[in-house]
């Protein structure tokens, strides 16, 4: 087989060295009963060419993906990924390495982890960030568990305007941990309604921009929380323009790193961003890299504060996470470095301007209006005059894709369509969408 280096002669020599006469004997410790029940997959060996063919046929079943114009969003965005990102992540010194347990052989991974932690802190305005969690939703669940450990209270308040996929994962983890999730409604403007904020919470979870695309007003929220921690879920690209949650005294900031140079890839692998305050360092989940010096005084990087983690603290670890999303963190690091601060600002501005252009054109059509008045970033919700499913189906015929309005009606916003607009959407595409709506 092509991934195996031993020859028949090697195998015979090795068996002889072990003192066995057949390969079968290597498995004599597996009960015969078990071996007898074995059933194969009924798969023949295939050449690389044949396998490529199978996959290429499968991919043609993803009919619309190539030529369509996507306004899909809801936490996963169609941003341009510069070539440099995949060229760097394709270097096999990076992608074929394991977790950097041996720092002397892993300075590449460790240095980029350190860069990543720094970038996440710069974006979010927080003091410490870990090297990643699986995805945004599981990062949020980890954040809520962490807040419970710190505050000791078994209740969390979560904004209703959270993306549904965050909420579902949160509900599962909280059920198992015995944490009660209390839902916080939203106002007519689409922002979180804190007038009747419950007491005795371990945390409050707010997402900004939220599931309607609306930017939340974070100012003064922390001040109302007493002991409870403020957990903010955010979109990292929006932080090219928006004030970092750290500025509003957030205790934990969570994000989905997918917009940072990671393909949609049908929902994974993604990148959970997790940042917090230095005072909560010991309660943090996930891996951390620290700068230190080697035996000769040279600066180098190593994993640190591992006593929080499962391999040392076992049943009392702050999280069970081991394998995380390192290569996606590398992609995000290279992506941000390729943009620079100016590029990120420019990118966020393109998203903002194009989204507002489209929103203004759509809402100039009779019967169409913004579902919520509050400011938005690159995604917005529109109340439509006719059946939103019919509008969406019509647009789909023209290969224009929108999110299913059921997501929003489930959040209490009926007859509403959501549009996500990235730098990839051209004016022609936006105008075409408006023309089609107008013609309906």
């Amino acid at each position: 087989m092509r991934y195996i280096a031993n020859t028949g002669a090697d195998r015979r020599a090795m068996l002889a060295a072990i003192g066995l006469s057949s390969l079968e004997e290597l498995f004599h410790d597996i009960p015969q009963e078990v071996k007898d029940r074995f059933q194969p997959l009924e798969l023949t060996v295939r050449s690389e060419m044949e396998v490529a063919q199978v996959l290429k046929e499968l991919v043609t079943l993803n009919s619309c993906q190539q030529s369509s114009i996507s306004f899909l969003g809801g936490g996963v965005y169609d941003h341009y990924i510069p070539s440099v990102v995949s060229h760097i992540t394709s270097r096999s010194e990076f992608y074929t390495a394991y977790t950097p347990y041996q720092p002397e052989l892993s300075q590449g991974t460790l240095t980029t982890m350190f860069e990543f932690q720094t970038l996440v802190c710069e974006l979010t305005g927080m003091e410490v960030a870990n090297a990643s969690i699986y995805d945004g939703a599981s990062a949020l669940a980890e954040g809520v568990l962490m807040a419970k450990r710190i505050v000791g209270n078994g209740r969390v308040a979560a904004a209703q305007s959270l993306f549904p996929h965050y909420r579902r994962v949160l509900d599962t983890y909280c059920w198992a941990a015995g944490i009660k999730v209390i839902e916080i409604p939203y106002t007519n403007a689409g922002t979180c309604d804190l007038t009747a904020l419950p007491q005795d919470l371990s945390s409050l979870v707010i997402q900004t921009p939220n599931a309607f695309g609306v930017i939340e007003e974070l100012k003064g929220v922390k001040e109302r929380l007493k002991d409870a921690l403020l957990i903010v879920v955010t979109n990292p690209i929006s932080l090219g323009i928006l004030a970092p949650p750290g500025q509003f005294r957030a205790d934990i900031v969570i994000g989905e790193g997918q917009p940072l140079g990671i393909p949609a890839s049908f929902g994974g692998p993604f990148l959970g961003l997790f940042a917090t305050r230095e005072r909560y360092l010991r309660q943090m989940p996930g891996r951390l890299t620290a700068q230190t010096v080697d035996a000769e005084g040279k600066i180098g990087y190593t994993m640190a504060i591992q006593t929080r983690e499962q391999h040392i603290r076992r049943e009392r670890a702050t999280s069970n996470i081991c394998t995380n999303s390192q290569l996606c963190a590398l992609a995000a690091t290279v992506y941000l470095a390729s943009l620079g601060a100016d590029g990120l600002h420019e990118l966020a501005t393109l998203n903002l301007e194009k989204a507002h252009y489209l929103a203004q054109r759509i809402t100039a059509l009779p019967g169409y209006r913004l579902a919520f008045e509050a400011p938005f970033f690159n995604e917005f919700a529109v109340r439509v005059p006719t059946d939103p499913q019919a509008i969406r189906a019509r647009l789909k015929e023209e290969r224009i894709l929108l999110d299913d309005p059921r997501f929003l009606s489930a959040l209490g916003a009926p007859n509403t369509l959501r549009f996500a607009v990235t730098e990839k959407r051209t004016k022609d595409e936006l105008d075409r969408l408006v023309e089609l709506l107008e013609a309906m």
Binding site: R282, Q306, T307, R313
Partner: protein, 127 residues
């Protein structure tokens, strides 16, 4: 003898310096050596009531977490806050400046079952 004779010792490698109903508690020279470079210490808050055998403090090196159990029941009346910024004090002077907490104990006779220094060292050599 590396372990001071005026202290009493537990098999969990803690030392207790009992004066009246005040017990000063630390970890032994042997324990700090096993843990290696201590990098972090978590101490209870003053006023906490602890029962004998309950977790009292945590002492961490890079690769291990050492639990310090309350050798006696009582109330924490003082903690060694210096350790928060210089945990290495435990490595440098485990029986002196590296003390962890002072307990006001409810039953001084709980110390009767502890080892004296020679017995503790005997215990270590059998280990």
């Amino acid at each position: 003898m590396t372990h001071p004779t005026q202290f009493r010792y537990t098999k969990e490698h803690e030392w207790v310096d009992l004066e009246g109903n005040h017990a000063k508690v630390g970890i032994t020279e042997h324990a700090q050596g096993e843990l290696g470079d201590i990098v972090f210490v978590e101490l209870p808050t003053v006023g906490t009531d602890v029962k004998k055998g309950e977790n009292l403090a945590t002492v961490e090196s890079i690769k291990a977490v050492g639990d310090v159990y309350a050798p006696m029941s009582g109330t924490v009346v003082e903690v060694n806050t210096q350790l928060e910024s210089s945990p290495e004090t435990i490595n440098q002077d485990p029986h002196g400046a590296g003390w962890l907490v002072i307990l006001e104990v409810s039953d001084p006779s709980e110390a009767d079952s502890f080892l004296d220094a020679p017995s503790y060292e005997q215990y270590l050599s059998e280990g």
